[in-house]
């Protein structure tokens, strides 16, 4: 009897040892597989937008493409429809170290641009789509050095941190096509900083504060660089952002200031963007202001927008020689549909309303209506 009990105990003991051994082996194998999986993940790098290069592994590739179709018509503008522009933007960025990174963007365009856009009969032509043109330009290219947690110093060229729109020059990010008139009005801000750009961001209590200081060159007088600055504030969740911007540069042997104030509010499904910019000169002050409310009418993929945009371009010259100081309203609206987060399809309508003395020149009415159909894709 005792033998039988001993045999059973021995058998059970052996089974327990074998089970423990097997569990150990299985645990080891699971750990090995998990490590292999992790290694594969490291090889995949931080984001699927990153590619391997010969120089450095952390190279980020991205960009956008936007073809658009524009229809125009007016009292003295013949109805026309054209594939007005096709713009490809390529972004390349690389982290060389934890503190040093390189950011670049260049744009390549193929377009049938609108000629004599303000329909000035003194120019000798009408407002119409011109022949095919193409070109490329560098919009960003800078080295960014991180001095502290949030303090940065950049050197090169980049979008000027002046208000809201100039910081969103990529067409796919604008709510309406081409963005507001602030970007198209002569004698206003320099859209790019060049040289140095120093910026910082501070979290104070429940608020975010930030500032930018940068140099730039005005195309009219590139011999002496100008100086730009911006101070901004946002609520903790950045639903409310407001800022004050200034650019100061020598122009026609005098120092001029261009001043701007901007506001962006995002509350539930409602977004409001408003900006004001004025060029302070002794005789004539070109200025522009717009307000752009928009509302997500279906979840986050269907945005309905409207806008009122005014510009006084007191120093505008047709063909660079004929003085044409105009005042113009642009108002309209449209629909942005984002079937995927990377794709935007837009249908927009804009009424271009010239006012005051320059509404009609030599019997020619300058007003017109434009309709835009465009697709934007970011990658």
């Amino acid at each position: 009897m005792n033998h039988i009990i001993l045999l059973v105990v021995h058998f059970v003991f052996m089974q327990v040892c074998l089970s423990d051994d097997r569990i150990d082996k299985l645990t080891k194998r699971v750990n090995e597989l998990e490590l292999q999986q992790q290694e594969l993940m490291y090889q995949a790098s931080e984001s699927n937008s990153q590619v391997n290069s010969f120089i450095h592994d952390n190279l980020t590739l991205g960009g956008f493409f936007e073809p658009s179709y524009t229809l125009i018509s007016g009292p003295d503008t013949v109805f026309q429809a054209s594939n007005s522009s096709n713009l490809l933007g390529i972004n390349l960025a690389s982290d060389f170290s934890n503190k040093l990174r390189f950011v670049s963007q260049f744009q390549i365009g193929l377009a049938f641009p609108l000629q004599n856009i303000h329909n000035d009969p003194r120019y000798g032509t009408k407002r119409e789509f011109g022949s095919r043109t193409f070109g490329s330009t560098l919009t960003q290219g800078y080295l960014d050095y991180s001095i502290g947690e949030t303090t940065h110093l950049s050197g090169g060229v980049g979008y000027a941190p002046f208000g809201q729109a100039p910081q969103l020059r990529e067409l796919v990010l604008f709510v309406r096509r081409g963005g507001p008139q602030i970007l198209r009005t002569n004698e206003l801000l320099s859209p790019l900083w060049s040289g140095f750009h120093f910026y910082d961001r501070l979290n104070i209590g429940v608020n975010n504060w930030g500032y930018n200081v940068y140099s730039f060159n005005r195309p009219e007088d590139p011999r002496i660089p100008g100086l730009g600055a911006r101070v901004w504030w946002s609520s903790r969740d950045e639903a409310l952002i407001t800022g004050f911007s200034i650019q100061s540069a020598k122009y026609n042997h005098k120092i001029d200031e261009i001043v701007g104030a901007d506001l962006k509010a995002h509350l539930f499904k409602f977004i409001l963007t408003a900006e004001f910019t004025r060029h302070f000169k002794t005789q004539s002050d070109p200025w522009t202001a717009y307000i752009e409310p928009s509302y997500f009418i279906h979840e986050e993929d269907l945005l309905l927008y409207t806008f009122v945009d005014f510009a006084q371009s007191a120093l505008n010259k047709t063909a660079g020689t004929i003085a044409d100081p105009f005042q113009k309203f642009e108002y309209g609206g449209g629909l942005n549909w984002l079937p995927t987060v990377f794709t935007r399809i837009r249908l927009g309508l804009t009424l271009h309303d010239y006012i005051q003395d320059n509404d009609v020149i030599q019997g020619k009415n300058r007003d017109y209506t434009s309709m835009d159909i465009s697709v934007g894709v970011a990658f």
Partner: protein
């Protein structure tokens, strides 16, 4: 009264279940973090820990319900707003979104590999070698 409490608890149990825990590499000296810090690390507004160690944020896969909860509670954005934010960032400043990882174990695994790593896992997560849970400090 008792049925009311049970009803209340049952009604909110899905929300409780979606709660997340913030984890960092065990070498990181911090023991607590504010929601603002988490948000700034996630959005890459701040890229270094106070010690100077670079921050490496690991996100949860967008198929996980906990991610929606995390974005709402800590980042104050919807998943779509976050996607659009990263498109803008990539075009404007070259920043790209944090890597998304599907399982808690994998998140803990990668966080344990990098000294400056931070991530979040579901509240059901217990512990893993090389990582530690940190508490949320009031802003």
């Amino acid at each position: 009264m008792k049925p009311l409490i049970i009803f209340f608890l049952l009604s909110f149990s899905p929300l409780i279940a979606q709660d997340v825990v913030i984890i960092v590499n065990e070498q990181n000296p911090i023991t607590e973090i504010t929601r603002d810090q988490i948000r700034n690390f996630f959005l890459k507004n701040v890229r270094q820990w106070p010690s100077g160690t670079p921050v490496r944020f690991f996100d949860m896969s967008d198929t996980r319900e906990e991610r929606r909860y995390f974005l709402r509670q800590y980042v104050k954005k919807t998943p779509r707003e976050v996607d659009l934010y990263w498109i803008g960032q990539k075009l404007y400043s070259g920043n790209s979104a944090p890597l998304q990882i599907s399982s808690d174990a994998m998140i803990a695994g990668v966080v344990s590999r990098f000294p400056g790593a931070i991530g979040y896992v579901s509240s059901a997560f217990t512990e893993a070698p090389g990582v530690k849970k940190i508490s949320i400090k009031k802003d």
